[in-house]
């Protein structure tokens, strides 16, 4: 149990937003978050014909979700993991090779380079086991409280 709750510390809540492919949708999301005084750490857009999913890591996920739902967006939480990387050539390779060696299948991933170094956000099916494997491999993960 302690081990599981230990893993929980490293599960970050990503906000996933459904968006039709039409002008003004991203700006509506951004405006809503500004009004709710939410800061965005990282985000990515996955697009397909006609629609896309905007994924956000923010400082106040509860407030962000509520605000986006209130202004009419279809939103949900998704558990993701944030892996700290060295912000230098080879940083991503080190991280990616650990994931490969640990047999962790990534649904999708995106990265950002913040004030405290580079971070790779990954979405996997079994978050708990991925966290354990990454910690065991010596990777430093972002704690959920760092995103609160």
């Amino acid at each position: 149990m302690t081990e599981n709750s230990d893993s929980c510390k490293y599960v970050i809540r990503q906000i996933s937003v459904f968006s039709e492919n039409k002008p003004g949708r991203l700006s509506a999301i951004a405006k809503g978050l500004e009004e709710a005084d939410v800061n965005i750490y990282a985000f990515s857009i996955a697009e397909s014909k006609g629609f896309g999913v905007v994924r956000l890591i923010v400082d106040k996920s509860t407030a962000a979700l509520k605000k986006l739902a209130d202004i009419g967006f279809m939103v949900s939480y998704t558990d993701v993991i944030g892996i700290k990387m060295e912000d230098r050539p080879g940083g991503l390779y080190e991280t990616a090779s650990i994931l490969g060696d640990a047999d962790i299948n990534i649904e999708y991933a995106y990265a950002y380079s913040g004030r405290n170094g580079a971070v790779l956000i990954i979405r996997v099916d079994d978050v708990t086991s991925a966290v354990k494997k990454l910690l065991a491999a010596g990777k430093e993960l972002i704690k959920a409280e760092e995103c609160l």
């Binding site: 996955a46 397909s48 009419g72 967006f73 279809m74 949900s76 998704t78 979405r123």
Partner: protein, 424 residues
Amino acid sequence: MPVDELRKLQYKLMKTLVYRLYSFSPFYHDRMKDAGVHPDDIRSLADVKKLPFMYKKDLRDNYPNKMFTASTDELVRYHVSSGTTGKPTVVGYTQKDLDVWTESLARSLTSCGIGRGDVMQVSYGYGLFTGGLGLHYGAEKVGATVVPASVGSTEKQITLIQDLNVTAIACTPSYLNHISDVAEKMGVSIKNDTSLRVAVLGAEPWTAGMRDRIQERLGIRAHNIFGTSEISGPMFTDCAEQKGIHIWGDIAYTEVIDSETGENLPDGESGELVVTVLQKEAMPMIRYRVGDITSLDTSVCPCGCTHPRISRLTGRVDDMLIIRGINVFPSQVEHCLMQIPEISGQNYMIIVTRDGSLDSMRVQVELRKEFFSDKIDDLLEIRKKVAYELKNALNVSVDVELTAPDSLPRFEGKAKRVIDRRVL
């Protein structure tokens, strides 16, 4: 045949038909009783207006064969068309019904100058749809050589038109335009490189302007054909004069009515087409509300023919759409969407456009919140499922667009869920 004699014949056939249905069709017997009409009340053609109407809904309510007045062992064929809510409409035929259908079409093709020595490519769908088999037998009857090409494999169709010296083609006007486009890309000019000289086009609305463009572009005569499975199938065309579609009076009795009042309209006035098929055994239709908008012309045609004519169809009284020759009712779309848990069935939009020469139909649906996923693949899977179910229900390929809940328009009063952007 002189007009007077034709009307006498029509009256005789009508009288026989009404007695027949009153005696053998529980459905129409009850309908006549409800309307307070007895066969003895029909003493002239003018009395036909006393008879109650029949509707497409009646066929659906009596699915599959409760309207039939022939026993199953007398039937030699079924055709099936789309109904309004997913339930199809079944039409049964006795051998005589097929013979009358073929006879009607044979006369029509003859009036377009098609006969022995012609090679006719039938590029209507063969199968449950009446277009393919209808034209097939009609063309054989007049002695033409039939190429039963059906729809699709357009490049092969063009090769056949060239190699078999095809002189006549039967298809939808949009498919003929598509054939011309594809031929041009292949470096084939239908006008200069083929023997094609005449086309019999229908199963979807088209204008005289489009006819002129087709005639000019392909160097052919383009005739207009009319029919619907409820009356047998494609049966009537315009003649060489191209001044309206001749409805053979001994085969059908034609009226044009005001949709609201049900009153007969005089020649030249636009209204809803009502057809009584005078010689039909398996599934006779009396005063069937076809739903197409047209006008009647009972004057003698410049070709000398005394049979009444109807003008080019200009639209529908209901919300039926015709997509690449296939009838689609918005209610069918709704019925199908209602069965899919991942989306909201009540809110949807249908957008019809014409890309190049082919119709294309897009359906916008609202995803349900519970099924929203951050993974694009999950969402694509839902879209694929909706497209698959719609294709199954409508027989037409549909583009599906997923939208967020509550993002599509809501309607107060009558919903306008169809946007038809096709320019005829």
